[in-house]
């Protein structure tokens, strides 16, 4: 990738730290069985990492495996394998990448075998597919499956009924289940301790995301952001390692702000910030670098993204709360990005476009993910209407290389950026509240 770069880009301390953390977790997974440790598989959105830690369980995250495999270009084969075994080409490719990986020997992204889980902790948060996914995995392992049903915030807010329902499930289904699997007795004070640590990292993390309000932005809140969310969305939230990671990261970013520097890219530092974008939707992983390059080559920086909120919308103020441990877990699950209804998602994006002074919104629509994708075209329209800034739409997939068409993505992205540029040059301010959806909206009253 950086073959032409004069020298290897220096890895910053935070990068090294994260690398070490991730490989540490994979090593823990690989040796779990020898060490007699129990493994639990669970999902990122609404994950109960603090609770899992209370039972000394090792955390295996199938979505993260799929991402890592995607970046290593292994998922194409896995998906084929799953399709060969009867899965439709229409369905979520995370699921197929996971099942294909299991079918092909269950080697983790680092090449070491992954252990069979002792329990599946099915956090049904923000995505219906999770439920089917773990039913399918359960079929393979025949292991205990603990279902935590998180109701959807259909009316835009959590209700007492929802919260009570989750807390009750935690108390009567999840905690007893984890006790059974791990043989460890639940200790609420231990949970409080871990939650306290989580909250620290969470505050650092929010600072990191909000640093993008600077001009130029010292970070890319999407392509860089997916690295920054790593510790807090996965097996590390609640560990001192995570707090340390964010402390390091924060230091580095402070330095970049002081120097007036832009984000670091795989090809070195970004020279000029020409466009500031908000991005909705997950990235494509199989061509992640190429995808990113299309942005930084044009001087486009992502200043805020919704994908970095799938594991919690911390910038709206939520923190894990040691004083209300189970209730705050419930609130955390309820508040993940994809568990918020569509109007709330639109409000959030609108806020980002305004607060981060973005040139517009770019939606990366993912073929796999109905949870994100269904309704994005309305989001696009609403944001244009409310902010008067242009939005654009590209289509890719998470981990299915068949659905990443570089020429197509580049064409749309370039057209979009040139459009922003042309508008600027003509000196015409974006027409306030121009209603591009005029006609159909008229039909809607």
């Amino acid at each position: 990738m950086n073959a032409r770069a004069p020298k290897e880009v220096v890895k910053e301390a935070s990068m090294l730290k994260q690398k070490e953390m991730i490989s540490g977790n994979y090593a823990k997974l690989a040796s779990a069985k020898e060490q007699g440790r129990k493994v639990v598989s669970t999902f990122v959105p609404g994950n109960l990492n603090e609770l899992i830690m209370c039972f000394d369980l090792v955390n295996n995250l199938p979505e993260i495996n799929a991402i890592q495999n995607g970046m290593r270009k292994k998922t194409g084969g896995y998906i084929m394998e799953a399709e060969k075994r009867g899965h439709s080409e229409d369905v979520c490719t995370y699921v197929k990448a996971d099942l294909g990986m299991i079918a092909k020997g269950n080697l983790g992204p680092d090449g070491h075998p992954l252990p069979a889980p002792d329990a599946l902790l099915l956090s049904y948060t923000g995505c219906f597919t999770f439920m089917k996914w773990f039913e399918l995995v359960r079929e393979q392992y025949k292991c205990e499956t603990l279902m935590l049903h998180v109701p959807y915030e259909g009316d835009g807010h959590a209700t007492k009924n929802m919260r009570d329902y989750i807390v009750k499930q935690l108390k009567e289904v999840i905690i007893p289940g984890l006790e059974r699997v791990s043989g460890v007795k639940f200790d609420i004070d231990r949970l409080r301790e871990i939650l306290r640590e989580s909250a620290k990292a969470e505050s650092h993390f929010v600072w990191v995301l909000q640093s993008a309000k600077n001009k130029p932005s010292p970070i890319d809140a999407y392509f860089g952001g997916v690295y920054y969310v790593g510790p807090i969305f996965t097996a590390f939230r609640g560990t001192p390692d995570a707090t340390e990671y964010y402390r390091l990261l924060r230091g580095e970013i402070e330095q970049r702000i002081a120097n007036g520097q832009g984000p670091i890219t795989p090809d070195g530092e970004m020279k000029e910030e020409k466009y500031r974008l908000v991005v909705e939707g997950p990235p494509n992983w199989t061509s992640f670098r190429d995808f990113w390059k299309m942005f930084y080559d044009e001087g486009a920086v992502v200043v805020a993204s919704t994908y970095t909120k799938v594991g919690g919308v911390y910038d709206l103020g939520f923190r894990h709360d040691p004083d209300h441990p189970l209730e705050s877990l419930a609130d955390y699950c309820l508040g993940c990005y994809t568990n918020r209804n569509l109007p709330s998602r639109i409000d959030l994006i609108e806020k980002y476009v305004n607060e981060y002074e973005a040139d517009g919104l770019l939606i990366n629509s993912i073929k796999s993910c109905n949870s994100f994708s269904a309704g994005q075209l309305l989001i696009l329209r609403e944001i244009e209407r409310r902010t008067g800034r242009p939005a654009a739409f590209i289509e890719t997939d998470l981990v299915d290389p068949r659905y990443f068409s570089p020429a197509n993505v580049k064409n749309r992205l370039e057209s979009y950026l040139q459009m922003i540029e042309q508008k600027r040059r003509s000196g015409i301010a974006p027409p306030a509240a121009a209603m591009p959806g005029a006609a159909p909206a008229a039909a809607m009253q």
Partner: protein, 389 residues
Amino acid sequence: MTTLREINERCSALYEDLNFGYAREWKAAKPGRKVVGHMPFYVPREIIHAGGGLPLGIFGGGDQLEVIHGDAYYQSYICRIPRSTIELAVTKRLDFVDGMLFPSICDVVRNLSGMWKVMFPNVYAKYFDVPQNYRDDIGGTFYINELNELREGLGKLAGRRISDDEIRASIVLFNENRRLVREVYAFRAAQPWKAPAADVYLLMRAGMTLAVEEHNRMLREYLDAADKADARKRDNCRIVVTGAFCEQPPLNLVKSIELSGCYIVDDDFLLVNRWEQSDVAVEGDPLANLAHAYLHNSAHTAAKYEDTEKEKGMWLVDSVRKNRAEGVIFACPSFCDPALLERPMLQRVLAEHKIPFVAFKYAENSGQMQPIREQAGTFADSIKLWSVQ
């Protein structure tokens, strides 16, 4: 006496009417009447009815609706039903609908509920969640509270509180409806040549539009008339269709399956009216009774969590046995995650029980039936040629 042909024509007319003339007339007949639409799948229609409302099933646009604006809201890789539903709405075909319920079936319908709120802020739009935990003290409690919230919402729409007694009375009527529906299914399973799949489908579809009292009458008339039908039994095999619980197949597909040599003896089209599989108790707290029926005695589909691995798919095996079917056809909408992710699990169970199956996908507006006939026909051929007679 109403003839089969008359019933059939009435049902076809209701099915083809994309302007929902019947519901409009029903609403206009008395001031203050409310129509509450719902997407396919389960919603407690009793509560709508108890509030004096008409539950109206919105099952997409079928193959006759030209979708122009709907595509503006959905990418090509999302199933058809939400886009045709949006098309119905933006072309003002649903402008008389006072409320919309979006059952908990998948992320697409879930997000559609939010789109409705944005696009039609004056309509009562609710995402109606159901528990995936089946313990009375956990999921049950949650559900009763949700039902109460729905009762309040619909009460506001009706302009009054919906009483327990009213709900009880509705439960009685809907129990009757479900009983008759079960009877029609049983009749067809016994003599499928007398109850062609397309006719039964239209009869059930009518129930998504008509007032329940009227549909009950129609079902009774149908049973009478169909029994007397003079139809020749054909050399067809008997199959169960599954996977079509949300976006509906085009009528031609239902016909094609039968034409290519398969009698449909059970299916999961329009599960709404067969959701509770036996009577809902009438005495006592009606919401608790509805919750109880939901938790312990409702249909199995991909949208529900199966909490016991051993039980996975057994309902399908049971249906095959009970209806003496010789095979299963999986007909799933293209891009339907719930149906398509469920499919391999069900297929494994069928294979374990040595029940043959075949699978294909459709869209509500699929035009070319040739590949469908080909697959259903080959399936029928193989059962016919190889069955041990």
